[in-house]
Symmetry: C2
Subunit: 158 residues, 2 copies
């Protein structure tokens, strides 16, 4: 998947270059909805650019996130990156740890309500759902209490 042209222009306009590692990193994140960790991105980018370093992956993920091309989220076990920068919510399966995108549900009502109650300026909001995904439910797997999320588990959504 190629980055949108306006994305490339924006990078250049900010004095940022579109190097091969950078383009590949962006493509890899955008090509999946598995909210990959840096390690997974590294693993995939390496298939096409074996000499790339993990540091470069981290540096670029940060740059791309701060330029708005990716969303970054802190999670148990490390950072995760999301190529979908449009409005959407997440569903995290407490059994397998997979994170699914779900269409944004909460409208601007919640934001207005919070603003009215607190006097704060609400610029963004996000809802996270937790539960058991269809696959885990079918297999009869239950959420394990105190379970730690696997960080370098098998790739998701490949």
């Amino acid at each position: 998947m190629l980055a949108r042209q306006e994305g490339l222009d924006t990078l250049r306009a900010r004095g940022l270059r579109l190097t091969r590692p950078r383009r590949l990193i962006l493509d890899v994140v955008r090509a999946t909805d598995a909210h990959p960790t840096a390690a997974l991105v590294y693993q995939r980018v390496r298939r096409r650019l074996p000499r790339v370093s993990l540091a470069t992956v981290y540096r670029n993920l940060r740059v791309l996130a701060s330029e708005g091309f990716l969303a970054e989220r802190a999670d148990t076990g490390g950072l995760r990156f999301d190529g979908n920068t449009g409005p959407h919510d997440h569903f995290t399966c407490l059994v397998c740890g997979r994170i699914y995108d779900v269409p944004a549900g909460t409208g601007p009502g919640g934001r207005r309500r919070v603003a009215a109650r607190t006097g704060f300026e609400v610029l963004d909001h996000r809802t996270e759902y937790y539960g058991r995904c269809g696959a885990c439910r079918r297999r009869g797997r239950s959420p394990v209490k105190g379970q730690r999320r696997r960080t370098h588990g098998r790739s998701q959504g490949h």
Copy 2:
């Protein structure tokens, strides 16, 4: 939240002891709404129990979270703990990074909607708001771009 807040006798019923460090750690987290990191809890517990170790703080925060006495959340810069295990949402100020509790706004409607659309079993949900808090707004401070966004990841033990 899934876990109810029971009396501390629940601990004993599970074969867990109510030691001095453990009690202090729980008290410290419950005494603030600042969603403290492990390091901050350690700092405070140490005022009353100087020989406590950071490892003990971590171990107990994990135990207490997995027993439902605390909620744990992943955040940029590390884990944070929340003594408020009742249903509530969060507002994160993008300027000062402070996390405020706000009353839960989204009812069960969103959960039903997600369940209906995905076929998943939705057990919990949480909404995070981002913006500028009253204090930062008054001071005219604006969110700095490129600043590390404190995003919400999955929390455990809720």
